[in-house]
């Protein structure tokens, strides 16, 4: 390991301590504050810390607390709306759905942020992420009448706020997934029908 003979930087020295504290907290909660469980808990914390340092040595992103609060609030009320929406569609006798696959051009760059966007989108009303290829997020839309583009843009903005990253100017629009494919939610060949 290059630089292993040098002194550890402050951040490097802090990392194992931070992770060990995190896993100790998890153990405390999982064991429901049972003190006698620490005979198993101490080895667990050690092994988990070593495994975590090996699997993800460095974390190149950080979370902004204020952004995290705004994201959590957005996530909470949107996922409630998403649950109500799909539950009511499922039990109504007419089964009001009009699904389609669409592609959204992502404005957000970093990989971890894209994964969070994809996961968040799946809990929003009417959208389900179904793959990320380059700058394009494939989504399955339950009903074309839903404001999917605005919703996905909002998700991206909240995730960017959470991690404190900038969005690209281009993108943020929904379109057909491939050239020549069936139009997507009022875009493309839909009008020619």
């Amino acid at each position: 390991m290059p630089g292993s003979t040098q002194l550890l930087s402050a951040a490097q020295a802090r990392r194992p301590v931070e992770r060990a504290l995190l896993f100790a907290g998890v153990w405390f909660v999982v064991a429901e504050a049972d003190l006698s469980s620490w005979t198993f808990g101490v080895p667990f914390v050690l092994v988990a810390t070593i495994a975590s340092l090996r699997l993800t040595p460095a974390r190149e992103w950080r979370i902004r607390p204020a952004g995290a609060l705004r994201y959590a609030w957005f996530f909470a009320h949107q996922s409630v709306a998403g649950g109500f929406d799909v539950a009511l569609r499922a039990i109504r006798p007419s089964l009001p759905i009009d699904p389609k696959l669409v592609c959204y051009r992502l404005r957000i760059g970093p990989e971890h942020a894209r994964v969070l966007v994809a996961d968040t989108v799946s809990l929003l009303p009417g959208t389900l992420s179904a793959g990320i290829e380059e700058d394009s997020l494939t989504m399955h839309v339950l009903d074309c009448g839903l404001p999917v583009e605005e919703g996905t843009r909002l998700v991206e903005e909240h995730v960017a706020d959470l991690f404190g990253i900038e969005l690209a100017e281009e993108g943020g629009t929904i379109g057909p997934c491939e050239v020549g494919s069936v139009g997507t939610c009022g875009i493309g060949s839909e009008g020619a029908r």
Partner: protein, 101 residues
């Protein structure tokens, strides 16, 4: 029954509604994509109602944190699994159901 008991039971009944609606969706929706919508969204909300309802009755705050931890785990796992299954279905050529026009 105390007020807390009543509120707790109401939340649990609400949660049960979402679980039943989710299962109904899994049964009634026409293809794997639409069924995934029903599963991920309705069940996560149902479990949310359960965690809040049961938290009102919990003996200690650690139990509440533990249930929230399990809930968070189910949400992340559900969203990720939904994404993977939908992607696998798409790349293997399962054509999404379209409304007949």
């Amino acid at each position: 029954m105390s007020v807390i008991d009543v509120v707790s039971v109401l939340l649990l009944v609400a949660g049960t509604f979402f679980f039943l609606a989710g299962s109904t969706g899994v049964l009634r929706f026409p293809d794997v994509y639409t069924r995934l919508h029903a599963l991920t969204k309705a069940d996560n909300l149902g479990l949310g109602f359960f965690v809040i309802g049961l938290s009102l009755r919990a003996d200690s705050w650690v139990v509440v944190v533990k249930m929230v931890l399990i809930w968070a785990l189910v949400i992340v796992a559900g969203a990720t699994a939904g994404h993977l299954v939908a992607e696998a279905a798409r790349t293997s050529g399962v054509v999404p159901w379209r409304k007949p026009r």
